[in-house]
Each structure stands twice: as structure tokens, then as C-alpha cells.
Symmetry: C2
Subunit: 391 residues, 2 copies
Amino acid sequence: MSVTAAKGFQAAGIAAGIKENGNPDLALVVNTGPRRAAAGVFTSNRVKAAPVLWSEQVLKSGQLSAVVLNSGGANACTGPKGFQDTHATAEKVAEVLDIGAGEVAVASTGLIGLLLPMDKLLPGVEAAAAQLSEHGGEKAAIAIKTTDSVHKTSVVTWGSPRTESGGGWTVGGMAKGAGMLAPGLATMLVVLTTDADLESEALDRALRAATRTTFDRVDSDGCMSTNDTVLLLASGASEVTPEYAEFAEAVRTVCDDLGQQLIRDAEGASKDIKVEVVGAASEDDAVEVGRSIARNNLLKCAIHGEDPNWGRVLSAIGTTKAAFEPDRLNVAINGVWVCKNGGVGEDRDKVDMRYREVHIVADLAAGSETATIWTNDLTADYVHENSAYSS
Amino acid sequence: MSVTAAKGFQAAGIAAGIKENGNPDLALVVNTGPRRAAAGVFTSNRVKAAPVLWSEQVLKSGQLSAVVLNSGGANACTGPKGFQDTHATAEKVAEVLDIGAGEVAVASTGLIGLLLPMDKLLPGVEAAAAQLSEHGGEKAAIAIKTTDSVHKTSVVTWGSPRTESGGGWTVGGMAKGAGMLAPGLATMLVVLTTDADLESEALDRALRAATRTTFDRVDSDGCMSTNDTVLLLASGASEVTPEYAEFAEAVRTVCDDLGQQLIRDAEGASKDIKVEVVGAASEDDAVEVGRSIARNNLLKCAIHGEDPNWGRVLSAIGTTKAAFEPDRLNVAINGVWVCKNGGVGEDRDKVDMRYREVHIVADLAAGSETATIWTNDLTADYVHENSAYSS
């Protein structure tokens, strides 16, 4: 279903030969209208890949007719030639679809610092265009994988089920990402589509609100990518203009689902860790504390070893500027308050850590704000994947 | 030699039974004068162990007669009882040495969140006092080890060699630390001694200047401890008051040497990585960029895999607020400028990464300031040590 679950979209995914192993590596998503509104959120890394620079520019119009995505090469740190290649890719899409290049977003993922093989990519665009289909969403999702073990898609249909006779509207999407997951955003490419009839301003508002509490709070390894891109395209094909709050909730639900799928597929991970900060004086404090816990390598190792090491949680909290008193901190791991008032709490032997999901609650006892950050454990497999694989 | 290289100091290291394996775990360092000036620098973690809270307090006088250190337990996150135990430890030292408890600094290292076995520690103080010797520096250094594979000591003697007839002065010291190394400070206990005749103000100034560019720039795993303590004690026994600049340089040299020893002994590491940032607009920028590179797990994995992955260096630089233009960044790895002007530079196959030391130079091309941060690679052994060992 993926990006073609919503009406008014076609997609394709093919093997263009960008990846040496012959796996699918080029995806095309086309908005067939009637509306072509769009919004996007990009990496906050100041070293931005050429396709990010391009797509930020074209999105200023609030309109997109197509998105072309490739895996097998990030086209980051590739200088003026890299930007020319992105431009040429958009021009090629425009040519085969008979639209303007300024309506085409480009996204790339893979190794940094290598030019893309344009002699393969440009013919690939033609081949993908020839296979565009209202059932092409899954193939597109598969074509953007890098080290992902599975492709990731999600769909929410609001109101009555989608039928030929209409009724309701849908938000669907696809994502890729399995490492270099950190806020602002995770290393991800995400394309969301909807047949809701909305203008770009509403899309932008809903997308920013959704990513702020979903993708931006997925922090697998603290490493921020040069290529992160999240796009939301609206076709208006449902002819329904939903209430903003309902639409925003649907977008948030899809983003949350895709974010969870990213964490569950993170490179080498054996535990998914939900870090829930409560009792914070402000949401910013809660996020800062959550990130500092989520990025603590020693804690991530301890969780890997199924050790409910609350001392490492307190060590991490202590590095932040958040409002708290050390002797009022409480920490629960999988429901057991192993740390109370900054010291020893319930018996740590009561903590059952056999399952993949681990839930850490850090109570700052300084207010009523909360935030949840998702991360993974740190494992020998993570080291192996990232020392053997150049990305 | 260690803390007894300088005249006017005695030390001892014994096994008090705090560690279940029977290894040495209690050290005592005594300043026999005539001067008893002292200075200290402590963790900037807001969750501070009881001995840190105690020692910060007693150091306000600028005077210390003794330092008692234990491994086998950090006495962190142990509440009022933990602080009472630290106080009782200082009182015991005061009693056996016939001094005031307010002249005794306490330092602890080991597992967080456990109370110390005072029934073993207090008799241990008596036993250590009975073994105090001007040759006890090595034993003291051995007794503060936790996961350290070797004990760490360093000595600088300034001017003419130390002889019975006097002449010259000495700065010596011991350190422990092998993980949780991060700025402000690394997880370390360090005691430095000197027989230079200086007041506490000069000691404090020299110590802060030295730690700022040495221990504070050793960043093994980005994790900041609750117990970091660096103390500098002066006996005045050389009867020489050195020039401040010479003394500061000697302190810096000993701190730098000990910091290097900490990095070389970091848990599970197979590479020591020198991250040198040059061309920065300010020293703060250089430090911020250096830390962001040093803490990038993906880069640390790549270095482990002997992959000169400059793209991950640029990704890390891009997350900072430092002044730079992405298309002017240059990166050298082991002398080969693999990234020039933000893109591909010299052939990465020229980079020889077979040796333990790896030298990364990041040129921001934005000024003339520099800073060097030391870190390690991220290895499966690090994960193993920190998932199997509770600390």
C-alpha cells in the first residue's frame, strides 16, 4: 500500500544498477492530482546533501508533482557536480512525465562522498516511469532500502473505508532508515501521501507537528545524517477536506508507526528502548534529558547486557541543564522503581529484561511535562555493521 | 614513583576487602609538609557522588593533609547514608593521622548506587596508615584501579635532578580510569603531588589550566562520571618556589601524560584517535567540533574497521554551531587529505590505518584557532566489557 494507498498517486521501484549487487535502487512517486500540494522537513545537519539542497528549494512553492529517490549513493559532499547531478535527475523526471523540474523533489541515500552513476540513474528514471502504477507503493518502498532488513510502510484511513464510491481519506507512507538515527531527523527518507484535499500550509503544519514528536525523537545512535528528508504530498483525490486536527492526528500516527519500524530495524540492535521522561519542568527539559539518556553508550551497553543499571541513567541526567534536584530523581526500569529519591529503590533483581522492549521512566520530580525518546541498545553487531559497511 | 616522587609525601595501597576479589582497593596519600596547600577539580556532572560533595567542601580552605581513595564502590547515589560514610572515612583518617577531618579529601570509584562496606573500609584505613611510606606511590596507584588494565603514574622533575642536597622540584601523580571518559572530567581519580613551595591559589590556577586542555579533552565514550576528582597537593618540601609558568607547564605535562595513559587503556579500544581541529574561528568552536567528531559512534566504528570514512567526519561537523562553510571543509586522516573543500580529496586508499594511533585533522577554514580531543574507536570489546560489567 505504502505511498499508493491514498488515491491520486502512482509509484514504481526498480533496479537501475546504482547498487552493485543488483538490488532495487530507484523509486518514483507521482502525484496524479487533481491537487499537487506538498510539504517537507529536512535534516538540520549543516552539511546537507545535494538532493536536500535541491528539494528544499523546489518545496518553497508548496507544490510537488513527483519525487524520485535512489538508494546506493547519498550524493552528499559531492560539490557542484553532485548538485548538477541532482538537477539533471529532476530534469529527467520532468521530461518523462511532461512536467517542470521545479515540481520534482529528489532524495538519495547511501555512501557519502561518491558521485552517482548517472549513466545508470537516468535510464533508470525512464524505466521507473514506464512501470508507474497505483499498486507500485510496495516496490517503491523496497527500492529505497540500504541496510534496512525490511521495507517500512504505514497507512491510516480515516472515517469510512476507502471504496470506489469514495468516503473517507487516507494517509500512507514509506520510510527507510536503519542507522545514523538521530534527531533532526533520523537518517531516513520518508514519503507520505494523502488524498485529503488540503493546501500546502496545512500539510506543512501537520508534518512539522508530527515529526517533532515522532521522527525527531527516534535516536538510535546519536548520529545525524546529511540526507534526511520527509515529504508529504496531497492529491486531493478523495475530494474530502478533513478537519485539521483529524488530519494532523492521522499524519502523526503514520509518522509514529514508521518511526517505530525504524527503531525496530536499527542496525545490530537487540533491544528497543523507550525512554520516557516525566515530571519535567518543561517539554524542552524532558527532551534534553531523554536524549542524554538515549545517547549514553554505557547505559546502552548495560541494557544490552540486561542490567537495570539506574546509576548510568542518573549519570546521564546529571550532564543536562534541566531543572531537577539529584536527591529527588526516580527511575523505573520495566515498571520497577529501582531508583527512588536519587538513591537505591526497589530490588533491581525484580526487573525482568528478557524481552526486546525495555521501558525506562525517568522522573525529574520538577514539574508535569513529559517526552518520550526511542533508542536501541549498543551491541557488538552494531559495531560490526558499522565498521564493515562504509556509509 | 607516582605521588611519592615529590618530597614531603607518603602513601600506601592495601587490600581492605572492599573488592570481593581481594585486589587492592584502598589508597592513602599524606602530605608531611611543611606546607599543606591543595587545589582540586571535580566532575561537572550534577549528580555528584558523596566523596565529591565532601572533598569540594573541605578544599575551600585550600589546605589538605591527606587523601583517602577507594576502588570497589563509587558511593554515588547513596543518599544521606553515603555522605555519612564519606564523613566517617575522613574522620577515621583524621583520627589515625592525628589531624582534622577537614584536612582530608575522599575519593571513591566503582559501582554506583551501593553503600560502601564500612566494616571493611574503616579497618582498612588503619592498615593503610600503618604502611605509609615515601616509597608507597606505586602501591597507591595500584589500589585505585577498577577496570584499568595497568596503573598509571607520571613524574616531571624540573631543573636539577632531585637529590638529598636539594635542587629542583617535582610534580608527580597517579590516575585511574578506563571508561566513562568524557569531559568535565573523564571518569578518573587523579592525585598529583609536588614539593614546590606554592600556595593554593597558584596550585588552583595551574591545575585548572592544565585540566582544561588535557583531562577535559580526553573523551573516550562521551559518558561523564559522578566521581571525577583531580587533586593537587603541595608540600613545599623542596623549599623552591618555581616560576608560575614553569610550574604550570610541569603540571600540564603530568596531566597530559596521565590523560594519554587513560586513553591508551580505555575499555575495549583498539585505536587511539587524535582529533585535531584547525582553522577554527575560536577555541570554543574547535573544542565543540572536536567533541562532536570524537563522540560520533559511526565514525568510531569506521575507524575500528580501518575505514578512512571522512563523510562521517563531515556529518559530525555539520551538527555543530561552529563557524564554517560546508564547501570549505578539509579532512586529513593519517596525513592524507581525503576531503578537500567539502568533497572528495586525495585517494582514500593512500591512508594507512594499520597502527593503533589514528590522527584526524579537521580544517574548518574559518580562522586560526585549534584544539585537540583524544578518543578511542568503538569496538565489540567495549560493548562486551560494559554490558557484562556493572559500574
